[in-house]
Symmetry: C2
Subunit: 588 residues, 2 copies
């Protein structure tokens, strides 16, 4: 596709409609006010000072140690010449003064989360970042709180309790603020937690709504305005009827992933997590609304449409991955779409006004599904790769999916989506899961290993109009960092062995790389400093589910550790060490 | 003085005598085989690729996270294109392959020290580095072991137990290897430990000798060849007679500092630590041989001369600081001297063949001593600043001294010594210390604060011939890192708020600085990479005694925390965070 065929939502262009006047949708101002950069979640910056011709001279401008060495997955924010960095538990918030040499700390805010929260985090004690809105920084703590902090003074404005860690719940996701609502969700699908997304009043912290992923329609906030595109998603109380007994109460479906927002349609988009337990034979039925994309109104949370990506998920294929909102000409017609690269390794191009699936082709190696019927929306699974009380080998992708939470970017210059992803398969032994509140509720012994080719990660450029891969860069380890793409024609991402890379967005050619202190699983960002220079920033500090073998000091000889990820990452400790340092780069 | 007046020992010049053929004394080969660079402890490198004209373009080449965030005081070693990095407890040893991009880890050795060792370390769980000799890396563990590790394979060759942490002993110092002996000493003066220095057989790890700092002459290895220069140091069993009762058995005098070696004279030089407890009224007498410089034979440890710097120390003025061995023309005569900047804030220039003090002028603000009598060697103290069962105010320098362990460097180009030091005073309340093995035995409540001018640190250039300061750079916090000086005319050091600085060695003018992630208390080194480029390397990671308020998470509101250092460093957490990352710099 050519550049002219694509148009991006969210005002990265200066000709954006003035109606989208909130800071998140300003014309490119060189800031980075939310994890995904903008409501459309493009992670595209119109800054172009750093380009293919000069990126070879990129150098470290300054660094900052978070003082903590668990996995660093957060996106730093940049607003009003201040950088905001959220750490893994104990979830400190640092404000760094970009106007001063070396960016000294202006203030540090500590929410003092319970130490016990570390015991219920399935996959390292990560935090994926904060959101800036109207003079405040909003973020979640591992121990089930959302906080609002004054962006200037660092004083706590409010702190709302969202749940109870004793039930196995935790919070790791980055909020989105839309229509005056701070939208947050829980984690805990591996501990029998009932998943939800909630909207809090940005001014007061009061919980305005909470939409569960399972249960009766009223709990799911399904009402008269709910119009799913496909028949399979239309019936009363599917959130209870597609589960055995009352198992939906401990059935997962957390809201721990990404949220996007279309101000014109006034809809937020997000996906729900996997059902629990992993052993699917314990929960016959579609298990709605797990592994489901939802479109909801941000103010009251009501569901407008839903599409279940993976009914009766058998492989831990959460639906929480990012949704990039772009307008594309497909089949000769300009469509408002969302681009959703799912854990099941398929890239969904979906009409975001209606929920109609336009394409769903694989972007990574997979053998668990045959196709998606665009008429019915139903995915056709491969029965031999289904799980239950048995051992199944060579399931691809493995539980972390074709990709996991690590967010893609989209460039209107190339019309391509840049997907950091995995190349992992697994052996899955289903066993009985017994529910005890606050403890693992998985029912599976899993061992993961590299997929075809032996490498464990890839970064792919995907053409969403023609539904095909344009280029792929292979990585030794899962590409567990986010990507960011710039008007300089550059794609940036980090690797789990510590390299921060810049490649040509057109062809994936490596143009520059720098060895940071630890593996990178963070989200790169770019911004314009007070000196007018363009900077790149990324946290280095391996961990997360993929890197828990290092950050959690797991014994890699137990292949089932880290829910089976350890088996695939036994050599990671040879390639990287724990860390927690922010690196900021600029041209000389 | 002019350049021609000074000559440096230890073969940093290419015309060095071939007799000094061990690797430590080779002509400049671009390596860094021991913490102090060479036997003479000059920390001078003849590398000159990085110089005043181009240092402004110095940039980070690569980084490495140690994965640990306690104080990082070690000097990285560079031998055979491999870098060796020792961490704070648990004292990992990393070997990094400098021939590969990003210097990946070749191997990691873990001595698995006891976790309990952390409880007896007075001043953070630091380690000051290793020594390379004959294909092995030698270093100490916090839990009282010295280990030899094969430099190529990372396999443990031997591991020798030197003591028992339950007595309060620990080990933090960097060994020196001379004449086939690995020379190591203990820490623990604040826990009633009896101090010693020991020589181990480098091949087998067998303890060849142990010289106590107190006790009868046979324990101190004082025999017929002992010829101190001054009368006060000549009498039998002063190591018992200058103590009340048997208090010498718990009287401190550890060997936790620096050791130098003169191959021509075949003498090692080191100083013993403070006597315990700090409350000097509990131990009337000179308390020999604490706070004493010793010259010993490396092979059997026998004492050749000794000079007690601070008889009956009243302010915790350890004698462990570095001794730089240079030959200087003083009073028209070429003298083999050692330069020793003492905790008492005086710079001792001492004839290293005889122990005669040639000068002892203050290099930092002090009010505790009036002068040193060069005829008798006796220091004249100020009685009003003496301590005991009373409260004394405005004692300068404070317990960490005019300077502490942070090592100086010496440039034969300028003839100047570069001293990183403190500007601290203290209030000292003496109380009863009660000995219980393995617990603090201090007897003092101390509160430190900045000295005159309000800044807490300085880096000074000292002219040892004329015994005067040439220039001084002020620092907000104590200058707690080492310095290194190069033939490029540059002096490098780090600050506790995270800046790594290059200044003009002639005048102290700041030429370049870079903000590392955490405060720097490490020892910078420089080396020539396999690509022929000159590199600078330093560990960033605040801590140690000075930075324990950050690395140990102390409550700075308790001014007596960290033996009173916390009171002077209450604002440090505003300026830096915990860290543990190696930074390596080069020209573009």
């Amino acid at each position: 596709m050519s550049f002219s065929k694509s148009r991006i939502l969210g005002c990265v262009f200066v000709f954006c409609a003035p109606a989208l006047a909130q800071i998140q949708n300003q014309a490119e101002d060189g800031q980075w006010p939310m994890a995904a950069k903008n409501f459309a979640s493009t992670r595209f910056s119109a800054l172009d000072q750093i380009n293919a011709a000069n990126v070879g001279t990129l150098k470290v401008a300054w660094t900052f140690s978070t003082g903590l060495t668990r996995g660093q997955e957060a996106a730093p924010l940049v607003v009003n010449n201040t950088m905001y960095v959220v750490t893994p538990w104990p979830n400190l918030l640092y404000a760094l003064d970009l106007t001063q040499p070396g960016a000294p700390v202006k203030w540090t805010y500590s929410p003092h989360p319970s130490a016990s929260a570390q015991g219920v985090a399935c996959c390292d004690v990560v935090n994926r970042g904060a959101a800036y809105f109207n003079g405040r920084i909003y973020y979640n703590t591992l121990d089930m709180h959302t906080v609002a902090v004054d962006a200037v003074t660092g004083k706590e404005v409010w702190k709302t309790t969202l749940g109870d860690i004793n039930s196995g719940e935790s919070m790791t996701m980055a909020p989105l603020v839309a229509k005056g609502r701070v939208i947050v969700g829980n984690s805990g699908g591996e501990l029998g937690v009932r998943g939800w997304l909630a909207g809090l009043d940005a001014a007061t912290g009061a919980i305005a709504w909470r939409a569960y992923a399972a249960g009766p329609d009223k709990d799911v906030l399904i009402g008269p305005n709910f119009k799913p595109f496909y028949q399979a998603d239309r019936a009363e109380d599917l959130g209870t009827k597609t589960w055995p007994g009352e198992s939906w109460k401990i059935g997962g479906g957390g809201g721990w992933g990404w949220i996007s927002y279309d101000p014109d349609l006034d809809l937020i988009y997000y996906g729900t997590a996997n059902p629990g337990p992993w052993n699917s034979e314990q929960r016959p039925g579609d298990n709605k609304w797990t592994c489901t994309l939802f479109a909801r109104r941000p103010e009251n949370g009501e569901a407008i449409w839903a599409y279940q990506l993976n009914p009766h998920d058998e492989q831990d294929y959460d639906g929480v991955n990012e949704n990039i909102l772009v307008d594309l000409t497909i089949g000769g017609r300009l469509r408002k779409v969302l681009l959703h690269p799912d854990r099941n390794a398929r890239m969904y191009v979906i009409d975001r006004a209606t929920g109609e699936v336009l394409s769903a082709e694989p972007f990574a190696h997979q053998n668990t599904t045959e196709s998606v019927d665009l008429k019915t929306g139903r995915i056709k699974t491969v029965p031999a790769k289904g799980t239950g009380f048995k051992t199944v080998r060579d399931i691809c992708p493995a539980a972390p999916g074709g990709k996991d939470w690590q967010p893609s970017s989209f460039s209107p210059q190339t019309g391509l989506m840049y997907i950091p992803h995995n190349n992992l398969c697994m052996e899955f032994e289903g066993v009985q899961a017994n529910y005890i509140a606050g403890t693992p509720y998985v029912g599976a012994n899993v061992r993961m290993y590299p997929g075809p080719g032996g490498h464990r990660g890839e970064v792919s450029a995907w053409d969403p109009v023609n539904a095909k891969t344009i280029w792929t860069a292979k990585e030794m380890f899962p590409a567990w960092s986010g990507t960011v793409v710039t008007a300089g024609g550059l794609l940036f991402y980090g690797t789990m062995d510590g390299w921060f890379k810049a490649v040509d967005a057109r062809n994936g050619r490596l143009l520059w790389q720098f060895k940071t202190g630890s593996g990178i699983i963070g989200q790169p960002v770019t911004y314009k400093g007070p000196d007018g220079k363009q900077y790149m920033a990324v946290l280095s500090g391996v961990g997360g589910w993929a890197g828990a073998v290092v950050s959690g000091g797991l014994n890699a000889k137990d292949g089932t550790a880290a829910l089976g990820f350890a088996n695939a990452m036994a050599d990671l400790p040879k390639y990287t060490t724990k860390g927690g340092t922010l690196y900021v780069f600029s041209l000389p």
